[in-house]
């Protein structure tokens, strides 16, 4: 039973929904609930949270009955590297400027792919950086320094 639950699609979908719903209700307890006449800031989130928990329970029930498994592949490489490339972009925009941020973004995200050809990625990096500078900095006039400190 336990082993089956681990890959039960609807069980986990329902659990996720319950977690979001409960989380919303718990956090929203700090906001005034009010009454139907004067809805406080906590009114809508608490009700939505409760509805979501109910949906979650129903989905868990469906999962326990059908036992459908989670299907589809997941590339861990892409799952980790793409958000990391975005994080790098964000951090380097603050610290180093537009060009380094873009270079890091292209390089790391390209590494998330199935194939990684170094020369090709290098060329892509140059091409995308030049195109972005032309379009966004010169064309649309976004006020970002190309390289900070220069």
């Amino acid at each position: 039973m336990k082993r089956e639950l681990r890959s039960n699609k609807d069980f986990w979908a329902g659990m996720m929904l319950i977690a979001i719903g409960l989380g919303a209700m718990i956090i929203a307890r700090e906001y005034r609930f009010g009454s139907t006449l004067r809805m406080g800031p906590g009114f809508f989130p608490v009700i939505l949270g409760a509805i979501l928990v109910l949906f979650g329970l129903a989905v868990v029930a469906v999962g326990l009955r059908s036992g459908e498994k989670i299907q589809g592949h997941l590339s861990l490489r892409a799952l980790i590297l793409l958000p990391v490339s975005l994080a790098l972009f964000g951090a380097l925009m603050e610290l180093a400027g537009f060009v380094p941020a873009l270079a890091a973004l292209v390089f790391v995200s390209a590494a998330a792919g199935r194939e990684f050809k170094f020369v090709e990625v290098l060329l892509l990096m140059v091409l995308l950086t030049v195109a972005s500078i032309a379009l966004f900095i010169w064309g649309l006039g976004l006020p970002y320094p190309l390289i900070k400190g220069i």
């Binding site: 699609k9 609807d10 986990w12 979908a13 996720m16 929904l17 979001i20 719903g21 919303a24 956090i27 929203a28 906001y31 005034r32 009454s35 139907t36 006449l37 004067r38 809805m39 800031p41 009114f43 809508f44 989130p45 939505l48 949270g49 979501l52 949906f55 129903a58 989905v59 469906v62 989670i70 589809g72 592949h73 997941l74 590339s75 892409a78 793409l82 958000p83 990391v84 490339s85 975005l86 994080a87 972009f89 964000g90 925009m93 603050e94 873009l102 973004l105 292209v106 995200s109 998330a112 792919g113 199935r114 194939e115 990684f116 090709e120 892509l124 995308l128 972005s132 966004f136 649309l140």
Partner: protein
């Protein structure tokens, strides 16, 4: 005739140099992404939204709409030529379109698809112009209770008719509504669900969620797919259909247009449903159904017309009522809000240039697509040779710059990355993110209307069932829910949406 006056006014707006240019850009970008598999109109519109911040709202909407129906055209091109649906809506076109291509009749299939789409586009431009104003005028009299119930009906039908598991789709609407709450409460000013981040005080940016889930999430999902796509190129052949082809294709185009227009107005029906239904009808009424699957021109003409009709009529509820009938329309609604326009029936009277200009531009855009795309087919097909490994870093670049430029905040980029991960988790668990986006867009308006409705009724929740129009909306939502849970319908629904 007021209709023609309005349309002429609309064409006046759409024919300005700037608007024509944005229409053209939209159509070209749309065709491009329609041709390229692995990137859909949702991701593209989300990604390019930030580029339109400094553009007047009319031009911005015209361009975004162009991307949307351009993608429909582009999707059919690759379906026919290389048996590769660029968009989910073009899956049906693959069946007979690709067979026609293998028989050396790719040009004819493309021409019929383009003509069918253009015809459907023309009819639906008129339908939007005809039904838009009365619908908006009716909605102008709606009070808060009617609005709340209308939004609920929109969300329920969208979730119920959308692809995937119905229960989970409804739940994802609620997730979206909750995400819409994040930020300062308009009524009390309290910051809700901000976790101490001042960046969240204005709520989670619409672009951030859309790009995170639909662009980044889509890339992760594509890279996870172990199948590499294989691309063949084939000869296009003559573009001119014979008289026999035209005779065979005309009734399916008419039927497909009517079907698509009808299904298009209903919230939640995806173009895939319209194309599938059209194909089934054509197969049923055909004298020799065995020809289907072997290059029957009706199998291309009907679904392509239905596809475009559906796509175009989706604008009716979005423009007149402020109700998004699909994920793409939720994006368009978000674009309106970003440009400071409150969606709803007021748009038509307060922004007639936007309303009529957009409608007229759709017809111009459809014409542009026919004129531009057929001669340019060779170019589009050669784009298929661009490998995905070079494409997705470019999408990442556009997404990242787009998000960052919204508020000049790195924080937003981090949040988008997080939503990319969430998006992929939802996909694996079979929870469609599209209903979430619909809920997210409507969330704040729903809360506001609920609050106002209950204030007017002095706290009595029965106001939603004592006002007749509101009651009608609620009854319709319940009816749709009830019908869709009938075992027989449930089974058929599974077959269609798969």
């Amino acid at each position: 005739m007021e209709l023609f006056q309005n349309l002429i006014f609309g064409f006046g707006v759409a024919f300005s140099l700037q608007n024509l240019l944005y229409c053209l850009i939209g159509c070209l970008v749309g065709t491009l992404i329609g041709v390229l598999p692995g990137i859909g109109p949702m991701a593209t519109i989300a990604m390019l939204l930030p580029l339109t911040y400094n553009v007047p709202p009319v031009a911005a909407m015209i361009m975004l709409a162009g991307i949307y129906y351009g993608a429909m055209y582009g999707g059919s091109t690759t379906s026919i030529l290389v048996n590769l649906p660029g968009e989910t809506a073009s899956v049906i076109t693959c069946i007979d379109g690709y067979q026609m291509a293998r028989q050396g009749r790719a040009g004819v299939a493309l021409a019929i698809a383009a003509f069918g789409s253009f015809f459907a586009g023309t009819v639906c431009t008129l339908i939007v112009a005809l039904f838009g104003p009365p619908l908006a005028n009716m909605a102008l009299n709606f009070g808060s209770p009617e609005y709340f119930s209308l939004m609920m009906m929109g969300l329920v039908t969208a979730a119920v008719l959308a692809q995937g598991d119905m229960l989970k789709s409804l739940a994802m609407v609620v997730v979206g509504l909750l995400l819409g709450i994040v930020g300062s409460d308009v009524d009390s000013g309290i910051k809700r669900f901000c976790f101490g981040f001042y960046e969240l005080a204005d709520g989670i940016g619409f672009v951030i969620i859309a790009v995170g889930v639909f662009a980044v999430g889509e890339i992760i999902s594509n890279l996870s797919d172990p199948e590499e796509r294989v691309v063949f190129t084939s000869k296009v052949g003559s573009l001119y259909p014979s008289r026999e082809d035209i005779r065979q294709a005309t009734p399916p185009i008419l039927r497909g247009t009517a079907l698509g227009a009808f299904l298009g107005i209903l919230p939640g029906t995806t173009p895939s449903i319209a194309t599938f239904a059209s194909y089934m009808i054509e197969k049923k009424v055909a004298r020799d159904p065995a020809r289907f699957g072997r290059g029957a021109i009706e199998g291309v003409a009907g679904p392509e017309a239905a596809n475009n009709a559906d796509a175009q009529c989706k604008f009716i509820p979005m423009l007149t009522l402020g109700i998004p009938a699909s994920g793409t329309m939720a994006l368009m609604l978000g674009a309106l809000m970003i440009h400071g326009i409150t969606p709803g029936p007021g748009v038509m009277n307060q922004k007639p240039d936007l309303f009529w200009g957009l409608i007229a531009s759709m017809w111009i855009g459809n014409l542009m697509l026919v004129i531009l795309n057929l001669p340019l087919i060779g170019m589009w097909v050669s784009l298929l040779k661009v490998p995905y490994r070079m494409l997705f870093p470019a999408i990442m670049v556009f997404s990242a710059i787009g998000i960052y430029s919204t508020n000049n905040a790195s924080f937003d980029v981090y949040i988008a990355g997080m939503f990319g991960v969430l998006g992929i988790a939802w996909r694996l668990l079979g929870c469609s993110p599209v209903p979430m986006l619909l809920g997210f867009v409507l969330g704040p308006m729903m809360e506001e209307n609920l609050r106002r409705a209950l204030q007017v009724s002095e706290g009595d929740p029965s106001v939603f069932i004592t006002r007749p129009i509101s009651l009608a909306f609620i009854v319709v939502s319940l009816l749709i829910l009830a019908v869709m849970t009938l075992p027989a319908v449930k089974k058929r629904r599974g077959e269609i949406t798969g």
